[in-house]
């Protein structure tokens, strides 16, 4: 069997076990494809090619051995599967830049918990993907190392901040990737690139080793080309971690097993606010069509209200920058990464940060510093926390009525590179439907639900805390009935 770049991780895993395909063939094919296409696409910041090839050969041997043994296939779930990870996840001895000059040259001395779990599951990590600097952005244009392009249209953005991971999956480099999502950074690029992306419930996945943007909002999650693969990867990374006090000690269900178990009577709620002005007509049309599909599949679709939806964006832009201003204080040139030296300590710190950070990061550090300052704290930070509570209550009310809230992932289609870089508010607007979900700490799944003007449209399913299962079941049912997720980006 010749390796197909579009195989799912599950299919690859089965073919490895059957001996019809070797991990080394798949890894080699992935690296070849990346070598050919990535100079244009720029999904990767760093490739770990040698190690990936070496690990693949080891898996070749282990699969062969497993087939000779009568014991059967006891290899771990991602053995020999290529995976890409966002470059804000710490990888021991492998560059981790967060898309920033300030971390240029830094080699983490430790693996993030999710990286350790990937490795334990047998995944072959082939490289680190591009992102908006410190995950601050919605287009991957804020990377200090140049933008990533959208595989469906190279003149357009892939979304962000996990644009590199979304593009890597959409371009047929890898079946699986990890991203992080603080205000939509997994779901929005998944929508823009026509792939599946899940932001798990806050606390579902350990943040240890995820370079922090906004600690109370950040969450790591999977990208895949279908819902089942997404569930497979979630099972590998989910679960409490003693190194992260905010990770939740709740049981991790068999997400993969649940995706193909049909469940009847799931109620979908559609907030009227999510189809108002500013929502692209093509986007609205595709999401409404998807709701019809759900209706035909026997899901109950009803209207709900999320009156605080409008308030979520300004709330987010107080809380996230406030936390970021403190989280990013450690980049001072003293211990790691870049240093712009001086005889004077504070001049060194100032110069290092002036040169090391890009414009958007500086903007948010200033916003956040202001919001936390004496005299403004009550009016900004405290008030934002109160509104955050109201947003969460809106969702609580909705979930008393329905099991899933459905919205467009983003109000817009993928926009042109350069179109919004000088208009931060327009850029921020792209996340209005994803941000409230982070504020409430809920799980959100984005999946392809159509095309408009040849560009992918994403639909977002939001669930109750720790109820990713219902989202994956609904998404699985949808993908059984539709074929949007089977379309491939053009071979450029």
């Amino acid at each position: 069997m010749a390796p197909s770049v579009w195989e799912s991780a599950r299919a690859l895993r089965a073919a490895y076990a059957a001996g019809t395909l070797l991990p080394s063939q798949v890894i080699a094919a992935a690296l070849d494809r990346i070598a050919l296409r990535d100079p244009k696409l720029h999904a990767f910041l760093h490739l770990d090619s040698e190690r990936a090839r070496q690990e693949a050969v080891e898996w070749d041997g282990l699969y062969a051995q497993a087939r000779r043994n009568a014991a059967g296939d006891t290899l771990p779930p991602l053995a020999g599967i290529p995976v890409a990870v966002k470059d804000n996840l710490c990888t021991r001895g492998v560059p981790t830049t967060c898309g920033s000059r300030i971390l240029d040259g830094w080699l983490p001395p430790y693996d993030a918990t999710v990286i350790a779990r990937l490795r334990r599951a047998g995944a072959v990590i082939i490289g680190k993907t591009n992102l908006d600097e410190f995950a601050m952005g919605s287009s991957t244009e804020n990377s200090a190392f140049g933008p990533t392009r959208n595989p469906w249209d190279l003149s357009r953005v892939p979304g962000g901040s996990s644009g590199g991971s979304a593009a890597a999956v959409a371009a047929g480099y890898v079946p699986l990737a990890l991203g992080s999502d603080t205000g939509g950074s997994i779901r929005q690029p998944a929508g823009f690139c026509g792939v599946v992306g899940l932001k798990p419930t806050y606390g579902r996945v350990s943040r240890y080793g995820l370079v922090a943007f906004a600690s109370s909002l950040d969450q790591i999650g999977p990208f895949a080309r279908d819902v089942a693969d997404c569930a497979l990867l979630l099972n590998v990374i989910a679960g409490a971690d003693p190194r992260d006090s905010t990770s939740a000690d709740v049981p991790v269900p068999d997400f993969l097993g649940a995706t193909d178990q049909p469940r009847h009577g799931i109620r979908l709620g559609v907030p009227s606010e999510a189809f108002g002005s500013g929502v692209d007509a093509g986007v609205a049309e595709a999401v409404r069509a998807a709701l019809d599909t759900f209706d035909n599949l026997g899901f109950r679709v009803e209207e709900i209200a999320l009156p605080t939806l409008d308030a979520a964006l300004p709330t987010y832009y107080l809380i996230a920058p406030a936390e970021a201003s403190s989280n990013l204080a450690r980049y001072d040139g003293v211990r790691h990464g870049m240093r712009d030296g001086s005889d004077d300590l504070f001049e060194m710190v100032t110069r290092t940060r002036q040169r090391g950070f890009g414009a958007e990061v500086k903007r948010r550090i200033m916003l956040g510093t202001y919001a936390l300052s004496a005299g403004y704290y009550e009016a900004f930070y405290i008030k934002a926390q109160k509104v955050r509570t109201l947003v969460a209550r809106d969702f609580d009310r909705a979930f008393a009525q329905v099991d899933i809230v459905v919205m467009p992932t983003s109000p817009t289609l993928p926009f042109a590179i350069g179109e919004r870089v000088d208009d931060p508010l327009q850029m921020y607007f792209s996340d209005i439907f994803t941000i409230p979900v982070n504020l409430a700490g809920l799980p959100g799944l984005s999946l392809p639900c159509g095309f408009s003007a040849g560009l992918p449209v994403g639909m977002q399913l939001v669930g109750r805390a720790f109820d990713e299962t219902t989202l994956l079941q609904a998404g699985g049912a949808y993908q059984q009935a539709t074929s949007w997720h089977l379309r491939h980006a053009p071979e450029a």
Binding site: P108, Y110, A212, E323, V334, R335, D343, D344, S373, Y381
Partner: protein, 495 residues
Amino acid sequence: MERSEPMDPTGAGGGTREVVIGIEIHVQLLTASKMFCGCPTEFGAPPNTLVCPVCLGLPGSLPVLNRRAVELGLRTAVALGCRVHSRSRFHRKNYYYPDLAKNYQISQYQYAGHPPLATGGVLEIQVGGRPWRVAIRRVHLEEDTARLVHPAGTGGAASSLVDYNRSGVPLMEIVTEPDLRSPGEAREFLNALRRLLQFAEVSSCRMEEGTLRCDANLSLQPPGGPPGVRTEVKNMNSVRAVERALAFEAVRQHEVLARGEVVVQETRHWDERRGVTFASRSKEEAEDYRYFPEPDLVPLDVDGAWVAAIREALPELPAARRDRLIATFGLAAYDADLITATPAMAKFFEETVTLGPHPKVVANWLSGAVAAYLNEHGVEIDQIALTPARLSALLLLVDEGTVSGRTAKDVLVEMIAHDQEPEAVVEARGLQQISDEATLRVVVDKVIADHPGPAAEIRAGKVRALPFLVGQVMRATGGRANPEAANRLLKERLS
């Protein structure tokens, strides 16, 4: 409540302003590992060897609260009679300094709706022989900073080094209300608090090692008037330094006011060598720490059962220990105070007593010869080569008459200096007491021959001169003669 006279910085008396002092101390908690990671808290390891991604503040690392540190904080709260808050939060105190790995310190800030671990306790001290209750404002937990090293000879601009071994070491802050009225009271408070924390096994409280650090604020309040402007004094490395710095500051503030000037609210550093305080940070540089709740930690919840368990397991505190020693062993108050000055001394006493010697004899030795040795050498009893077994053995030698009480004091010093058993010292130095009458009689005869005057007086019935001759016998035997035997033999010969 009655109390000692307030300190009068002018010496003039009458109508003077009252000294008002509040104390803020930081103690390092006796935990094996750091506040938010598993690194050891040892003192004196080579620089930057006790570190990990968390205490180095590496990108992506996260803090995890040390349960033991919370327990020691709770133990302190219970010992001070504080109210423990069922939910407290950690906050970030944001400022830039290279001794802060993250450029923020995780601490428990106090503001509306966000109480620290515990508030509202009291510590009783003795002021002029009377009890005086000092109110405790709060007890909270935080992490220590790294240590900056400025290598000698590098001058002002060249470079500094950072040792992150101390970064993240668990600290507890205790803040008093401004309830102290003199530098002497501040000293008494610090001694009492240190004793309490040592007996509670919360901290070693060694100021010279930095496991207890004290800042003090002082103001002068006119009689019946509003509180004066206060200054904060830092950098005192001993209890004595705290007392001296506060005394200096009281006089300085009085002089400022006497000149018709105003006291500036500021932080001042104590210069131990020059014996003065000096302003270290001007008001213009007052920092905005931009406190906000630490999102990487969940709220700290402490339920009643946990507090009850802490109370149940609380080690015996100094006052209770003192009362028990008096009641059980019939010790004098003075001896009991001295023996309960440190947990090590109290433990030493009780262990020695279980080996057989009479408690009062042990108490006499500890408050006498042993205390003298410790004072002279500036050490604690657990830092010298004296064990309860060795002291007990020495007392047995005295009891059996092998050595005289006087010689035993020399043996004690030798034992400590050479880390030896008392028998070995006595053997090696030939210090056995001479009770053999034949041997003593030779000495006695010689003393009588050498001192015919006193001998004649005694023969004439004037026994007043007898002690003199006994002393001469002792002298002639290097203190080894059994004094009772010498006494008896002299009387025999001169009767």
